[in-house]
Amino acid sequence: MDLQLISLQLFSGIALGAILIMLALGLSIIFGILGVVNFAHGSFFMVGAYAGVFFLGYTGNFWWALLLAPLVVGVLGLGVERLLIRPLYGRPVDDPILLTFGLSYVLVEGVRILFGTDGVPFDTPAALRGVTNIGIGYFPTYRLFVIGVVAVVLVALWLVLEKTKVGLIVRAGARDPQIMRVLGVDIQKLWLVVFGIGIGLAALGGVLAAPMRTVNPEMGNFVLSEAFVVTVIGGMGSLLGSVVAGLLVGIVVNMTSLVAPEMATIAMFAFMALVLLVRPHGLFGKPGFGT
C-alpha cells in the first residue's frame, strides 16, 4: 500500500467529514441550547436537498439554489419551533424525541407525495465538474468546493458566536436561561432563532450533498445516525466537539475502508462505543450534561 493511496484516502475522509460536520453542528447547537434531541434532523437535511432541486429547476442556477434552500428550510424550522416545539418546553426530554420522530415521518412522506418515491437527479454544477490535481492525486473538484464551503461556514459561525453581541447572548443563554430571562433577554426568541439556524445548517448540508449522492426521500435516514454518532463522540452540545468528531469519524470510516471495506460502517459505531467507554460524556462534553 503506497503513501499516495493512504494520503488520498485520508483526504477523502476529510471531505466525508465535512458533510457530517454540517449536520452534527445543527444537531449539537439545538441540543446545547434548547435541550431538544432532534430526530427530524436527517429529514430536514433531505428537505434541504429537495429544496435545492426545486430552486435549481426554478432559477436554473446552482448558486441561487445553494443560497435559497437553507434560507427557506431555515424559515420552515422557525415555524416548527414556534408551533410544535415551543409547547413542549418544561416537559420531559422524551417528548420532543417522539414529536420530532413523528415529524420526520410527515416530512419524508410529504416529499414522496410532492416529488415521487424514486428520487430525482441533481447534476454537479458545470463549473465544479471533473477532477483537480491536489498534489497527492486527482480529487473531484466538487468535493474540494464542499470542504471550502464548510470551512467558510465554520469560520463565520465562530466569528458570530465569539465576536458579536448576538453570540454573547447565545452563549449566555446556553449557560443559564433563567438569569437571562431575569436580565430581560427574550429567551424564547433566542431559542426560535437557534432552532432556525440549526435547521438551516442541516438544509445547507443537504444541498451540498445533493450533487454527490442521489436525491431521494430516504437520504436523511442513514445520515441521521451518522450525525448522532458524531455529536455523541464530540460531546453533546459542544460545537468544537462536533467539528473534531466529524473529521475523526470521516477519517476512521475511510481508513477502515482501505483495510477492511466491509467493516466501514461498523467501525463508526465501534469507535463511538470505545470513546464513550473511556469518556462517558464524549471528547468535549461536560459531565452532567445531557443526562
Partner: protein
Amino acid sequence: MEMAASKPMTKIATAPAAAPRRERLGRWRVPLSIAVLCVLPWLLPSKALAVNVLIYGLYAMGYNLLFGYTGLLSFGHAALFGTGAYVTGIAIGQFGTNWFLGMLAGVIAAGLMAAAMGALSTRTRGIYFAMVTLALAQLVYYVALQASSWTGGENGLRGFTVSKVGIGPLSVDFLNPIVKYYVVLAFVALAIWTLSRILNSPFGGVVEAIRENETRAKACGYDVVRTRLLAFVLSGLFCGLAGTLSALHLAIVPLDSLGYMMSGQAVMMTMLGGVGTFFGPFIGALAFLVMEDVLSLWTAHWQLFLGAIFVALVLYMPKGIWGTGLVWFERWRGR
C-alpha cells in the same frame, strides 16, 4: 464555543411526568388483561396481526420495565429481541432441538446479552446511555450480518418452521392461526403475571425509589448500579421472550429484527401507550400495529398520517393513550 450547564428540557427530565400512575385496578390487572387478550383475535382484522400485538405488546412491556421504571432510555433493545429470535431459530433449525428448548435457549441468550450490554452501558446516563446502547446494538447487527453461515445474513434466518407444538404425546397444530394465538398467549400471560409480581416486589420499590431520587436511594444504602443492571437483565429476558415468540410465529428471523428501527419501535410504542404505566406499552403496541395495518390498507401515504398522529399525541396527550385514560379515570372517581 462551549455550551454548558442547564437547558430547559433536560432539567425537568426527572420530574414526576414520567412517574407511574397508581393503578387502581391493582390486583385485578393481570386476570383482567388476560381476559381481554382472550377475545382479542375477534376484535382485530386478522389473527396474524393479533399474534403480532401479543409479541410487540410483550416487547414494549419488557422495554418499559427499564425505561418506564428506571428512567433509562435505551435505543438498543432490538439486540435483545433479535438475540432471542435468532438463538431460537438457530437452536431449532441447526441443532434440531424441540420448540420448547429452542425458546429456552433464546430467552437465556437474550438475558446474557442484556447482562453484557447492561454491564457496559449502565455507567452512562441520559442521551449517552441511549447512544451506547444504540452503538452496542449496531455492533450486534453487523455481527449477525457478517456471520451469514449461522444467521443467513441479509437474507434472514429460515428453515425452522414449527408446525406442531406440544408436550409428550399431546400436540397441537401450530400452523392453525387460532391455536397459534393461544399458545403464544399462554407465554405472554405468564410473562405479564411475572412482570406484575416483579413490580409489586421489594425490588420494584427500590427501582422506583432510584428513579425518583438517585442520591436519596444511595443514601438509604441501595446499590444503584446493581439494581439498574438487574433491571436491564430482567427487561432483556422479557424482550428476548418476545423475540423467541416472534421467531416461532413468522418462522423466519429477518435481519431487521436487530435493526435500530426495531429499537425505535419499542420506544415509540411505550411512549404512545404511556411510559411507566403497567398496561400502557401493550396499548401502545396495539394502537401502533392496528394503525399501521389499517392505514396502509387504506392509503399508500400511511406514514404521513402515522407521523401526524404521533405529533398530535405528544402535543395533546403527552401521557400516552393509557396514561391519559388513567388520569381521566381518576378524575372521574375523585368526583
